[in-house]
């Protein structure tokens, strides 16, 4: 009921004049529930002037009305849309993309250089490219280019992670992309080396087939418990620098137990990028069935029982 004159006009919230306009509008993720009514309300289709539909249910000249807007909007929605576009783009170009994440200094770039050199022997015709993410410098991209593989350096400035937009822009500059457009397509591998950071990159989907978290034995075996979000988001954990195991107190099985506590399905590989131990197993993981990621066997199901029994039962590959 109208609080000014007592009539029944506009007293039913269901008859909000712009409810029809809502269903016809092209708005994507915001829905207006009450129309603004100050100073002159938006005219509706029937020529009505809906003064009484704001939060206060009446209009007083000189006093503005509040109105509620239901957003129900995903804050990461834009990144997710761009990541889906990247994913479709990669698939259309026959590219399997892997997002390598770790803390700074775990050996990601050294691991990539060793992987590229080993791939040249294992699969000589395979196209491999790298997108390098760092806050500053192009040192890592230069190290990759020295192996003969193309690399694009993305400097994030003060940003702590790569996002889907950056990866999409970088991919468009790679030969991998142009090659497919000129009819020279075929399987290809794209490594995305994220900014060294075990926290933020966990949240940003880049369109990759899998996140691979690299952890070196000099960092301590409790990293999976300290940074659980990253280990929960990863498909594979690579324990790197295993050639240093005799010199550090790093308990490999405890580390794997911690990682599986956070993510029961995580796969594990042990490698040394400097000695080459375990690199062939890593290539097996990357290139199952001629590089088709969809045909890669899923992680083994997790057995029942203690963490230690589960480690014994599932895929831990030692060199």
């Amino acid at each position: 009921m109208c609080v000014i004159c007592g009539c029944h006009a506009g007293s039913n919230p269901e008859s909000t004049p712009d409810s029809n306009a809502d269903s016809n509008s092209q708005r994507t993720d915001a829905r207006k529930t009450r129309s603004g009514a100050s100073p002159i309300p938006a005219e509706t289709g029937g020529g009505d002037l809906p003064y009484g539909v704001g939060g206060a249910r009446l209009s007083v000249p000189g006093i503005s009305q509040a109105r509620a807007i239901h957003m129900e909007a995903d804050v990461l929605g834009k990144n997710k849309r761009l990541a889906s576009r990247n994913r479709a783009h990669f698939a259309a170009h026959g590219v399997s993309a892997f997002n390598l994440v770790s803390s700074p200094g775990s050996g990601k770039t050294t691991l990539l250089c060793a992987s590229i050199n080993a791939l040249k022997i294992r699969r000589p015709g395979l196209s491999v490219a790298v997108i390098e993410g760092d806050q500053q410098t192009s040192v890592d991209a230069e190290r990759i280019r020295a192996t003969g593989a193309p690399a694009i350096q993305v400097n994030t400035g003060r940003g702590c992670h790569l996002d889907a937009q950056m990866v999409g822009d970088a991919f468009a500059r790679l030969d991998l992309h142009a090659r497919a457009h000129h009819g020279h397509g075929g399987d290809a591998l794209l490594f995305i080396e994220n900014v060294g950071n075990l926290v933020c990159p966990a949240l940003w989907d880049l369109g990759e087939a899998a996140k691979v978290v690299v952890l070196s034995v000099t960092e301590g075996e409790d990293k999976p418990l300290k940074y659980p979000d990253m280990f929960a988001a990863a498909t594979l954990m690579m324990i790197n620098k295993i050639d240093l195991l005799p010199y550090v107190s790093f308990d490999v099985s405890r580390c794997i137990g911690y990682a599986r506590q956070v993510n029961p399905g995580i796969e594990v590989l042990l490698v040394s990028a400097t000695t080459g131990d375990g690199i062939e197993r890593w290539l097996d993981w990357l290139l199952p069935q001629h590089g088709d990621l969809d045909r890669r066997p899923a992680a083994e199901p997790v057995g029942h029982g203690t963490a230690a029994q589960r480690i014994m039962a599932s895929t831990v590959v030692t060199p």
């Binding site: 207006k32 503005s64 509620a68 804050v75 926290v199």
Partner: protein, 115 residues
């Protein structure tokens, strides 16, 4: 520190909504953040408050609701609520929980003014 880029993304979304819905200022904003979203509520709140001046969000009040994470136990098949990835299954005690929800970060609604 990804909360800073997230806050910037939120402000951009609000400015877009302001243009689309033709409002001038926001007095209240309600966010919903999953316990497994990897977002530090205080850091996000700090970043948003620091960025609000000069935008239509200036002076607006922020409410953040934390939504519990959900998981399924691969051992006993229970569906449970969790606060972090580190928890054992409250039903059978095994560390075999696979997260199924609670990673969302959403703007739920706004109270806005047209002048």
């Amino acid at each position: 520190m990804h909360e800073v880029s997230m806050a910037a993304g939120i402000l951009r979304m609000i400015e877009e909504a302001a243009e689309r819905e033709r409002f001038q200022r926001v007095s209240n904003m309600r966010l919903e953040i999953g316990a497994l979203a990897g977002v530090e509520l205080q850091a996000l709140s700090f970043a948003l408050t620091a960025m609000m001046p000069g935008t239509c969000m200036e002076g607006s009040e922020l409410a953040i609701d934390e939504i519990p994470g959900t998981a399924r136990c691969l051992h006993c098949a229970a569906s449970v609520e969790i606060k972090s990835h580190l928890e054992p299954c409250p039903c059978c005690g095994s560390y075999t929980l696979q997260a199924t929800g609670g990673s969302e970060v959403r703007i739920v609604d706004l109270v806005v003014f047209d002048d």
